[in-house]
Each structure stands twice: as C-alpha cells, then as structure tokens.
Amino acid sequence: MTPEDTDADDDASVIARSRHEPSLFAVIFDRHSRHIHRYAARRLGPATADDVLADTFLIAFDKRAKFDPARSDARPWLYGIATNLISRQRRAEVRELKLRLAVGPPAADEGHADRVADQVTAQALATRLDRALAALRPRERDVLLLFAAEGLGYQDVAEALGIPVGTVKSRLNRARGRVRAELGAFDLVKETSGHG
C-alpha cells in the first residue's frame, strides 16, 4: 500500500487506514499542511508557525484513533488543534499584531490620482485593524479569523473549536461589532473604494 493508492480516498478513510499503517498519515500532512502553516504564520509570524505546524500534526497523529469517521475532511479538526496551540501563545500573538508594521491592501491601479494618499490611508487602516484584532477577546478572535481570514464556514468553525454553530454566530457578531467600532474613524466604503 503506498500513498499514491490514497488519491481517491477521503481523509476519514486514510486516517482509519493509518491506524495500522502509520506512515499513511503523511498523506494527511501533504493535503493540509500548507493551510495550517499559513494560518499559524498569519497569527504568530513565520518563525513560530514552523513549531505550530509540527506540533499540530504530532498531536493529530496521536489522536487519529479518535477522528470521527463520519467527517470526510480533516482540515477543520486540524485547524482546531492549531488554534489550541496558538491560544497558548496569546501574548506572542498580540505582540505580533502590535509589531506588524502596516502592510496595506494592494496598491491602486497605476495612474490613480490619489494613489499616494490612498496608500497612506490603507496603511493606517491596516494598522488600526491589527490593533482592533489585538484588543478582541481571544475566543472571539479565533472565530473571526477562522471565518474571515481562513474562509471556514460556520459549521467548520464550530467543528474546529468544538462549540455549537449558534455560539460561532454570536461570537462572530460580537467580534465584528468591536472591530467596526475600532475602525469607526474610517468610512470603509469610501476609503477602500479605490482598492476594489
């Protein structure tokens, strides 16, 4: 049995087989490691992300017998393990948000009359967003970033964090409200119209 034979199998069946053929778990790594590493890098910076990635998969490997065979996609489960590891690094995450010197949205088209002014605004907006994220309750930040930055749906976020979907929605609403209040000085629609 080689990893090539697993192409057509969903995560649940690969994980089930890996209980007897441990090296097959590398297939799960190859399917999802880029996303988990990127998630950790976005939250903690690249150096710490390497450790989060390695530890996430070691923990997942140890717990593979407990993976729910009804779930075809392991990514939410892996996001949940990574989030738990990240939550132990809260001080580091907030520091990263504070130190992440503004990298604004992509530049407007060449020839845009107010491009320089737009860039200045975009940088200020990006910095303010980071400050707003740093000031959130950690569990609200978890939900907001999984949903908005990582693109998980309500159900996947609920699965990742082990909480009901209703709780995901209420935390997301609270987090969005807080971020909007922090960004209040900016008219988002007006300020970002040039950036599509």
């Binding site: 090296s23 490691s33 150096a47 990298v103 971020v179």
Partner: protein, 292 residues
C-alpha cells in the same frame, strides 16, 4: 468593502510557504509514525520573528566599538548607531536597581501613533493572574495555571500545565556576548536576522523589567548587529522627539514590510519606544487594575 473583506485582504499578504520549508515538520511526523523516540519540541521562543531559509541579504559590516565602554558623554555623533546604542547601554546601567516585591505587578502603558492604547498588569513572579488590556491571563502556581477566555466554556477556569512567566527577569545574561547569543536563540545563521533581533530587543525593553546590567547588555548586544542605521530627529508613538535606530527588514518579508525603528531620547539615551509606539508609564503597582 466591509471589515470581513479587510481582514481577508490583510491575511492575503501572508501566502503559502514553499513545500521544502514544511519538510522538517513532515520529517518529525514520519519519525513519530516509525515509532522513533521524539526530540523534545524546541523551546518555544515566544517571539514571532523573521522568515528564514531564504537568500540572506548582504549587510554592510559596521565597524564596532567595544560595547562595554562606558562614559560616552555628550559628544555622541548621532549618525553612528553603535555609539547611540552604547550610550543607551550606559544610561541603562545607571538606572537605580530597585527590585519589586514578588507579589507586585509590572504596570506598562503603551501609547500608539494609531490607537487604541494598551495597558498591562503583569505578575512580577508569574504566580498571580495578570491582566492584559481587559483580559485575564492565569498565573502559574505549582505548575498549573487557570485558563481564561477559552473557546469551550467547559474549560473556563480549569487548569493547564505551565511554567511561571515572570515580568521581572533575573534570568537574563548580563554581558553583551551572552545577550547576543540569547537573542539569536542558538541560531547559527545570523545573516539578515537584524529585523528579528530588533523585535526581540523591543520585546524585552517594553513590557518586561530587567536588571540594569541585563538592560545595558541588551543595548550593547544590539550595537553588535550589522546593518543598523541611526536616524536623527524621529518621534515615538506619542510624538516625543528622539534618535532612531533602524533594524533592516529580514529577507523574505513582505516587500512592503517596514523596518522596526527603536527610539531613544536624544539627550539621555533612555529607551522611549518605536516610531509607532511609546512606553509612557512603566512602574510597579500592588494590584491588578491599579494605576500609579
């Protein structure tokens, strides 16, 4: 565009790492799958730092003055980062050493060029609950710390394994050489790591309390980092004027990333903050939430 679009756009500035960058983690997984004994995971160095493994930038080598020379005096040429940092080390060494009581808290107020500001109350000995903004962080007693703000309410107030995080650090090196080794964290390849060191220096200088000898060693170690630039006439996050020390951006960072610039008072060489943040209050208080 709403705040969700903004978060997504901001996140997209960090893309996928190349596969070879993920190879060590894959190797560790395969070693575990083969049933091999695990290396103990590397000590978490809780600074998010620079990307490594990319072509190192060629940095100009600065002629170094002995960093343990004290008594620089008033004639410091601002254009020289080594002299500014050496003077900052000298200033730090002269600060009165008044150790706090273990049961106190380090209170730090940071003001930003772009709000909101930040206040923290960190347990001096790491055994009491700290307050970061308005969020509690469990203190570590007998190897166990209560968890607050958990995703799953069933874990709220339950205990997890921990090591105390002391806000008052007596464990740090007191010489420039040893401090530099500590900052690089066993990293052999030191090329292009200036941005990482800039963050590490800032981290120790802002919300932690060091003994004067360690504080001096911190700036003396920074003086040995190649590629730094001194900037006359900068302001910190609260608008206080000073002289800036710029740590170049690490190779592999986002092309639009800006270098970190530490700001020192131009007369006393006291550490003030960065060009977008300012440590405006730093003292010990008896209770969480108390302001001097």
């Amino acid at each position: 565009m709403d705040e969700l679009d903004l978060i997504r756009t901001r996140a997209e500035t960090v893309g996928f790492a190349p596969a070879e960058h993920l190879a060590p983690a894959r190797e560790r997984l395969l070693a575990a799958a083969r049933g091999e004994r695990r290396h103990r995971p590397r000590r978490w160095f809780w600074l998010a730092g620079a990307s490594i493994g990319l072509a190192a930038a060629i940095t100009a080598v600065v002629a170094l003055t002995p960093a343990d020379r004290v008594g620089v005096g008033a004639g410091v040429a601002h254009a020289d980062p080594v002299k500014v940092l050496t003077a900052a080390a000298d200033t730090a060494l002269k600060e009165p050493a008044k150790p706090p009581r273990p049961d106190q808290f380090l209170y730090v107020k940071t003001e930003y060029a772009i709000p909101p500001n930040r206040e923290v109350w960190l347990s001096v000995d790491g055994t009491r609950d700290s307050l970061i903004g308005s969020f509690k962080e469990g203190g570590c007693r007998n190897g166990k710390a209560p968890m607050y703000g958990t995703n799953d309410p069933r874990f709220e107030g339950k205990f997890e394994d921990c090591a105390p995080r002391r806000a008052y650090r007596t464990d740090l090196p007191t010489t420039a050489d040893a401090m530099l080794a500590y900052l690089y964290d066993k990293e052999e390849d030191r090329e292009g790591r200036a941005g990482y060191i800039g963050k590490a220096v800032y981290t120790l200088a802002d919300e932690q309390a060091l003994q004067p000898a360690s504080y001096a060693a911190l700036f003396a170690a920074a003086a040995r980092v190649p590629g730094l630039t001194a900037l006359d006439h900068v302001t910190d996050g609260a608008g206080r004027p000073g002289v800036g020390i710029e740590f170049p951006v690490s190779p592999g960072s986002d092309p639009k990333a800006k270098p970190i610039v530490l700001v020192f008072d131009a007369t006393t060489y006291q550490f003030l903050g960065t060009t977008d943040s300012a440590v405006t209050v730093k003292t010990y208080v008896d209770e969480v939430g108390q302001r001097p």
